[in-house]
């Protein structure tokens, strides 16, 4: 199964090797994922990354640092990646991050707010509301950002580290969206949240 927004008969464009068939560096990556996420929870994104295992491991480490270090909340980061997935029309990514938002304590209404790029309804503290809009602006046109934009989020309470963390959330979301979109990597078997949205995109494009 590829992206829901494409033909349902169109599989991913590269081989996604199942867990029980993995060997060598690919198996090492899958083992690392299962140690963190649980047995069988090797996402299709990382099955695609496993075509280049060292890069897959580096990106998994990057994701772990982003999600588990720093001071911004998991709900903020997953909410921002949900919004980016919507911007990038990556239905697998919308499904993954919307599910992660719920796991981080968000309500269905807050997931809808992320999809509507509405930080005021995300249930975030003022600092993270400001950073959410700042990050979306940077994603839209990074070279249009100004010193005043940075000063404004600092006045809302953000530190330099918070700003870098928010921008790296954008980078990571976009990087993963690109791999999934370009290679038609579809949602994992354990995810079907927002399937209808992907199917609606396909109908709009037809």
């Amino acid at each position: 199964m590829g992206q829901w927004s494409r033909s349902p008969d169109d599989p991913p464009f590269i081989d996604l090797v199942p867990v029980d068939k993995a060997t060598g560096g690919r198996k090492e990556l899958y083992d690392a994922l299962e140690r963190v996420r649980g047995k069988g929870r090797v996402s299709n994104l990382f099955k695609a990354y496993a075509a280049f295992p060292e890069l897959g491991k580096a990106n998994f480490e990057r994701l772990n640092v982003l999600l588990n270090k720093g001071s911004l909340t998991r709900k903020f980061k997953e909410g921002l990646m949900t919004a980016l997935a919507e911007v990038n029309r990556c239905d697998y990514c919308v499904s993954f991050h919307a599910t992660a938002m719920l796991a981080a304590g968000a309500s269905d209404e807050e997931v809808k707010a992320a999809l509507a790029m509405d930080p005021e309804k995300l249930g975030l503290a003022p600092k993270e509301q400001a950073l959410f809009d700042f990050a979306l602006r940077a994603n839209g046109d990074p070279h249009a950002m100004t010193r005043e934009d940075v000063e404004a989020v600092k006045r809302a309470g953000a530190t330099d580290a918070d700003i870098v963390e928010a921008l790296e959330t954008v980078n990571t979301g976009n990087a993963f969206n690109l791999i999934n979109g370009a290679l038609n990597v579809g949602a994992d078997d354990f995810l079907d949240y927002m399937r209808g949205r992907g199917e609606a995109w396909r109908e709009q494009a037809a």
Binding site: M117, L136, A144
Partner: protein, 108 residues
């Protein structure tokens, strides 16, 4: 993500910008990357407005007369029409929050 209606050359668009109410127009070009990134913001903004604002996109390369008449100098250019007249304009990327802050004073 809902897509913006493409009003380029359509009678519906001509009617919308000359009628009562508030209409937001994104003047875009097919090769404009920032235009692609602002489109979901405008679509989300329109959805949040619950029918109070109607949004369209218009391809400047296919309607150069409209672009010239409205002095479009760069892409994207956002034109805000109220009650049949151009009320305000912006250029460059804006988030949904920025769009709300911009348009709110023109409502009501």
């Amino acid at each position: 993500m809902a897509l913006l209606r493409d009003g380029t050359g359509t009678p519906e668009f001509a009617t919308a910008i000359s009628s009562s109410g508030v209409t937001l127009v994104e003047v875009y070009g097919p090769d404009c990357q920032i235009c692609k990134r602002i489109e979901p913001m405008i679509a989300a903004f329109e959805g949040a407005m619950d029918g109070v604002v109607t949004a369209y996109k218009l391809d400047a390369s296919r309607d150069m007369v409209f672009a010239a008449q409205h002095e479009v100098r760069g892409l994207p250019t956002l034109l805000l029409f109220k009650d049949g007249a151009l009320a305000d304009r912006k250029s460059g990327f804006m988030t949904t929050t920025m769009l709300k802050d911009w348009v709110r004073p023109f409502l009501g």
